[in-house]
Symmetry: C2
Subunit: 365 residues, 2 copies
């Protein structure tokens, strides 16, 4: 037994935060009244409250130490102990996590990280721009045509919309090779280095095969939906696609962050946890768009994705929505250049995505 601990900080909204914190520590480790547990389990595997800080007018802050062996050196079990059952209760929000170095080293983490993604797109320092190929319902020809224009305009990353799966209008196995070919042709025609990330969201049994197909077709990585495919799908994609970029999409993860007194702080979920799970870049709803995170929350996500964390590579924050030529100075200033800015509809507005990509690139230089 290592004696090391995983430390979690929770915001607790309760009349009796110390009592509630003690319940959380038991619920998340033993899930059994301590008087019923064998002595060796009480000694080895019971979480303990380190401190509870009452804050007038705010939720209390409770710090809980978990014996590090509880995670079994696995990401999935780390999630179980940090918030598994407590996610079902009100008034408890996970706001910080600290891991021992040995556990961090055992978790997947980003394979490429910021440096690897920059090498893939051939851009050592500037802000990166990405867009989503959409809408679902377009044919492979239409999607390939759109991809060609955007790649020819020099946009760094073309990911598929999370709405694209294996629908009859553009089945995965037909669509992915066509779009990859269009991006390759645009790169050849312009000397560019745009990369293409298909969305992989099929059944679990077919997931590795879809990632392999993407690789063989000439894509440069994949987008994965951990809220649906599971947190382990990020590392699985990296294993099956060596050298490929793994982009995390937040679909179906909003349940955790939308309610202030409950769930997980967005920087912990979209920053720390998805980075530990293996995301090279993590999409989240950017402030000022049509979603509900604040500027402060968004910058905390970016910080959590990039800050030093043992030997885990930093990941790129990818705020979605709201980037435009008008907002470029503000957003660049807020997030800094180690960021992927997702451009949505603005790229298609005006009917000339190539020219729009060129103008956006110029505005964010």
């Amino acid at each position: 037994m290592s004696g090391e601990v995983i430390t979690a900080v929770y915001e607790i909204s309760s009349e009796d935060p110390a009592g509630r914190a003690a319940q959380v520590a038991v619920e998340q480790s033993h899930e059994l009244p301590t008087e019923l547990a064998p002595g060796n389990a009480v000694r080895d595997s019971l979480a303990r409250v380190r401190s509870v800080l009452r804050r007038p007018g705010l939720a209390a802050l409770a710090t809980v130490d978990y014996p590090a062996d509880l995670a079994g050196a696995e990401l999935g079990q780390l999630l179980v102990l940090l918030l598994g059952n407590v996610s079902l209760q009100d008034g408890v929000r996970l706001v910080d996590v600290t891991l021992p170095a040995r556990l961090a080293a055992a978790l997947p983490g980003p394979r490429l990280g910021i440096a690897g993604v920059r090498a893939l797109v051939g851009e050592p320092g500037r802000a990166l721009l990405a867009t989503a190929l959409k809408p679902v319902g377009m044919t492979p020809q239409q999607l390939a045509g759109l991809a060609y224009e955007i790649a020819a305009g020099g946009l760094h990353i073309l990911k598929e919309d999370q709405g694209l799966a294996n629908q009859p209008w553009a089945p995965f196995a037909e669509r992915v090779p066509r779009v990859a070919e269009a991006v390759r042709r645009a790169n050849q025609d312009t000397g560019g280095r745009s990369i293409y990330l298909p969305c992989v969201n099929g059944p679990a049994a077919g997931f590795p095969g879809q990632v392999r197909l993407a690789r063989q077709a000439g894509a440069h990585g994949v987008m994965v939906l951990p809220g649906i495919a599971g947190f382990g799908a990020l590392a699985r994609a990296a294993e099956v696609f060596p050298g490929g970029m793994v982009l995390a999409h937040p679909s179906f993860l909003g349940g955790f962050t939308a309610s202030p007194g409950h769930g997980i702080a967005p920087d912990v979920l979209f920053g720390t946890l998805l980075r530990l799970a293996g995301a090279d870049a993590t999409i989240f709803p950017g402030f000022g768009g049509r979603f509900s995170l604040s500027r402060e929350q968004c910058l905390a996500i970016a910080e959590a994705a990039r800050r030093p964390l043992h030997d885990i590579a930093p990941a790129l924050p990818a705020p979605g929505g709201g980037m435009s030529i008008d907002r470029a100075p503000e957003l660049l200033d807020a997030y800094g250049p180690d960021t992927i800015f997702l451009i949505g509809a603005d790229l298609q507005r005006g009917g000339n995505p190539r020219r729009a990509a060129e103008r956006l690139l110029a505005a964010t230089r």
Copy 2:
């Protein structure tokens, strides 16, 4: 293109529910302003608001029709379109889903269902009782000893606690054969039919191997955590373990249900969606315990798990927490016999789990 639709009903909290419903329909299908979408996509793949019902003092009810092909006959994509991005926004809660028969037939659904689980445990009609082997930190010998006693007492289902993974105290590959052997021995000694479901929550690459190991060791199925391992993990487990029971645990899924105006109604998530994903039984926090669902919500989950739904087999609701000899009449009356009642600490209180199991079985007959 089929012309069939998937119909979703959302509770919408907004000054302008009709406008918000229209945004949801676009966000969840095209995620692009309609004036920018090609004509064929607008015709084929754009969701449409069917109706918006204002209710004084309550959230409005918006009914949205999605072209059924948007799901691409896949569960993961069905989840994307029902709530993917909207999960990140406030004020929208998914409260009902209706699928066309053809789509339902393409989704996994329970392999065993209620009849199959009843056949496995040899109990054609009565309420089923289950418990969790815990706490984490116990050795394989201790867990096997506890399992023997509980199985000898005749409890129908012994599942592992979601806290058990691959920790040093009882590694998966060592623990599962020992506990399976203990349950087998108890069944031989007493003529019983207790079944054992290990918890499988390892990395994605190792998931099928863990399920296979469980099968080879003589377990009778597995427990899966779809909130962490992904919704597809339920069907994957059923594929790898033919004839094995698949039990869904709600760890890390509470984000969706804990906030009233947001996320997914518990009956849709724990009942309908996990059943469609392949759960033979679905654990949820029962009313009157230490979690926060109401009696009405719990009974709605049970109803959603069991009600007729095209050709999809019914699943067993498995309310967790709160079952005791005292509460048995009330809970049996509320849920009815097609239920798995999870007994927690009460079974271990008093130091004689075998006798406690026998008394609980008698009290729930």
